[in-house]
Amino acid sequence: MDTRGRDLRGKRAAPAGSLVRRLLLLAGLGCALLLIAGCGQSQGGQSTLHPASDQSRKILHLFWGMLAAAVVVFIGAVVLLAISYRRRNREGIPLVEAENEKAVSSGLVVAFGIVIPVACLIVLFFIANIGVVKATDAPAPGQTKMNVTVIGHQWFWEVRYPGSAAVTANEIHIPVKTPVNVTLKTADVIHSFWVPELNKKVDMIPGHPNTLELYADHVGMYRGQCAEFCGLQHAHMSMAVYADPPAKFRAWLANMAKPVAPPASPQAKAGEQVFLTQQCASCHTIRGTSARGTIGPDLTHLQTRNTLAALTIPNRKGYLGAWVIDPQHFKPGNKMPGLNLSGAQFSNLLTFLEGLK
């Protein structure tokens, strides 16, 4: 506050002076990173920046619009801060405001603090909360030909196709370019169904089914993940949505609806007995056998799936065996216990599981 203070301030111009530069750098860096992230196309990710449906694209466009407006506001504020920094040593600025300056200052606050924000918010309200809301809303029941029911479990997704016997888990197949009405339920706690490249997320609430439209405008795999904390293995509750060409989808669904074929080899037959007599059948269903458990995923066509344990590990021989021996290794806390199997039982069981096509 004294003259010596001004010298000190002069010397310290460097840290405060780089304020503006640093902020601009930060903003620039952030935008650059965003652009890089937005441009890098990664197949099978779950990025909101790679929409594959009209719904996700509209949400993304909404975001870019809001971001553009936000950048303008941010730069405006930084410019004001820069101006105030330039005034730090100015002579003759009064201690308190002169009366005429007061009106100007209050006018600025009214303009930038009330008038302009109100105008922007009204525009945003109509675009986002009237327009885009309608575009992302779920269709009324019966509006779409294709229906799927997904039921959240700790910690996997049960997938059913009403009108078909098909039941699977974690990998949802849908026909491409076809609106699919998804009914969302839960078997236990609240989960949230989210496949960002296809649509917004919707929670799975006990006793309160929700619906969501899934539509993919090109063939591919779209990753999704539980978005509401649901316990110990919330992190390992992912899913994949496969948008297939319609013919391929129909073939897939027809196969999924069938019960399992009888075991092809003596080893597989012995493995089936292991499955039915050890604890496996008390939790898992294999349609076409007496296994009717409902705690774990349906394994009737296990080998049509690319992953195990809700996308935690690939569905390959080594992983499947490792999972069966010690399920708690990859996904600690999940409900599957390790089994005490002899070497022969284990190898027969694996042969049986690998035959579930």
């Binding site: 949400i59 997320k201 509401e228």
Partner: protein, 583 residues
């Protein structure tokens, strides 16, 4: 202050010293009802919890530094993450702002000698301490509100008034929520049990009826600190003072009408979500008013960019970014896409850390000379700001991007093939830098406490009344109840001279007892003189008993609970059997 040297004046000051003297030692701290000492207790307790919550944050970040990390087990991660949130909100930000800053500064700013209910004030601290310790044993209980009241308040005081209002009305919803939950668990009620006709969404509604006003409970004290620091360091009064005061109060009201915007993805009817989105947009306006009032004050003043103002500049920048990302969440479809991802984590850390905690840290620097009588080290203070701000940007900004890339919040690990690794690495490095900045601040303040140069009563030329008294303030705060005619009393030179005259004449010194004046509620005229209670053992004893009662209910020891309940009743009787001591 000017001359206070007449023998009669000196006798008066000695008399005040004797009347307001605190007991020495630990007993003095346990039985104190002095708002300053209670403020200091809150400060150190909440800072200890800040350290705990910060350590938890670093553990979380260390687990997430790479995909498939294995620093923490899933169970340990989930516990650490939960305790980080609970600690930072309930045991750090709220208690430090209302408990430490509010308690210490409010009476000093309005020219009072203590809070309105000194023993209740002490009681609330001990309950807070008990519940915080208990929470670290396992489960949570709430802490009660306290607030003072006067008129001609600086904007700081308007902000705290709004906070107190919000606390009083928001906490019951949380209490009801917790009560229902406890009834569900212990006595088989089914408020939230779907299997028996309950509704899990009821929990969410009640929680967020508390939870969103809670956000303003967190942010408003920060606004108050900003509106204290900015005029001092720009050498000018706040622009649009009435609008800012009104905005602070409005924010606390409108904040009650927006809770369901936390629930856009649960499948509420579209029309309901649209209402809450509209209300959420309206609540932007008071914040925009305040933001531009700060900016305009800075632009039309003559700012000095030293440590406290730097934290406020950081606050403004972080608040703008966090506010703009917040507005995005009032766009329902965007909310439904990005809620429960790291984008929302980024948003609320910009708000809670950048916008709420930066001013608290700036405020610690700003009032450090007042509380300790010593100056902090300026270059180290500036360095601590830049390191913390850089660390915060590096920690929290990439969270926006990784959220857009689809990373959900509250996951203890993530796969390698989704492209989230580099951002998480940056976040973790940033969190270490952030922590280093805070450590530097602690070192600076500890060193300055012992070695800093004497600060004098008003080192920054501050405008509010606390700068009129010596640093650290005497136990009775003001030797004479000050004359106040604006929100910037230190810049009203005549009023201050008038105070000296009054002291020399012995007018409004109130040196006949443990006394403070009361004012009329609406227009703040002098009303009567109140006898204030001095130190008392009952607040700490009563708090101990009530903590025991709740601890025993929650752990299911009903017999022990009854014993504590009896002791609690006895201590309440003890409290009321001892009237305020006459001088």
């Amino acid at each position: 202050m000017a001359t206070v040297s007449t023998p009669e004046t000196i006798r008066r000051l000695h008399r005040l010293d004797r009347i307001w003297q605190e007991r020495p030692g630990v007993l003095g701290w346990l039985t104190t009802t002095d708002h300053k000492r209670i403020g200091i207790l809150y400060l150190f307790t909440s800072l200890a919890f800040f350290a705990a919550g910060g350590t938890e944050a670093l553990l979380v970040r260390t687990q997430l530094i790479t995909p498939n990390g294995s620093t923490l087990s899933p169970a340990a991660f989930n516990t650490t993450m939960t305790m980080h949130g609970v600690t930072m909100i309930f045991l750090f930000v709220i208690p430090i702002s209302t408990g430490a800053f509010g308690n210490y500064l409010l009476p000093l700013m309005i020219g009072a000698r203590d809070m309105a209910y000194p023993r209740l004030n002490a009681f609330s601290y001990w309950v807070f301490l008990g519940s915080g310790l208990f929470m670290y044993v396992g489960v949570a209980t709430g802490n009660g509100p306290n607030a003072g009241w006067f008129d001609y308040m600086p904007l700081f005081c308007y902000a705290f008034l709004a906070v107190s209002f919000a606390l009083v009305f928001a906490l019951p919803a949380l209490s009801v929520d917790c009560l229902f939950l406890e009834l569900d668990r212990r006595l088989g009620f089914n408020f939230f049990n779907v299997g028996h006709g309950g509704n899990v969404l009821l929990w969410q509604h009640l929680f967020w009826i508390f939870g969103h006003p809670e956000v303003y409970i967190i942010i408003l004290p920060a606004f108050g600190i900003a509106t204290s620091i900015i005029p001092t360091f720009t050498r000018r009064r706040m622009v649009a003072f009435p609008m800012v005061a009104l905005a602070e109060i409005l924010v606390a009201f409108i904040g009650f009408g927006v809770w369901a915007h936390h629930m856009f993805s649960v499948g509420l009817p579209t029309i309901t979500t649209i209402y809450f989105a509209a209300a959420s947009m309206i609540v932007v306006i008071p914040s925009a008013i305040q933001l531009f009032a700060w900016l305009t004050t800075l632009v039309t003043g003559k700012p000095t960019f030293t440590t406290p103002l730097l934290w406020i500049i950081g606050f403004i920048v972080f608040f703008i970014i966090g506010g703009l990302s917040g507005i995005m969440f009032a766009a329902i479809p965007f909310d439904q896409q990005l809620t429960d991802t790291y984008f929302v984590v980024a948003h609320f850390h910009f708000i809670i850390f950048g916008a709420a905690v930066f001013p608290l840290l700036g405020g610690i620097y700003y009032w450090f000379p007042k509380v300790t009588g010593r100056m902090y080290n300026e270059p180290a203070g500036q360095a601590s700001f830049w390191i913390t701000a850089l660390g915060s940007a590096l920690t929290f900004f990439p969270m926006h991007i990784v959220g857009l890339l689809g990373m959900p919040r509250r996951v203890y690990t993530y796969p390698a093939n989704v492209g989230w690794g580099p951002y998480n690495l940056s976040e973790t490095i940033g969190s270490y830098i952030l922590a280093a900045g805070l450590v530097l601040m602690v070192v600076n303040l500890v060193w300055s406490y012992f070695r800093g140069p004497a600060s004098g009563p008003n080192p920054f030329g501050g405008a509010t009344l606390e700068w009129s008294i010596p640093s650290p303030p005497p136990e009775y705060n003001f030797p004479v109840i000050p004359t106040v005619s604006s929100a910037y009393p230190m810049w009203d030179v005549e009023d201050r001279e008038h105070d000296v005259d009054k002291l020399n004449r012995g007018e409004m010194v109130l040196d006949q007892g443990h006394e403070t004046p009361a004012s009329t509620t609406l227009d703040g005229y002098f009303d009567e003189i109140l006898d204030m209670p001095s130190n008392s053992p009952w607040p700490v004893v009563t708090a101990l008993m009530i903590t025991g009662v709740f601890a025993m209910i929650l752990t299911g020891h009903l017999v022990a609970m009854s014993v504590f309940l009896g002791l609690f009743a006895l201590s309440v009787m003890g409290w009321h059997s001892v009237e305020p001591r006459e001088a």
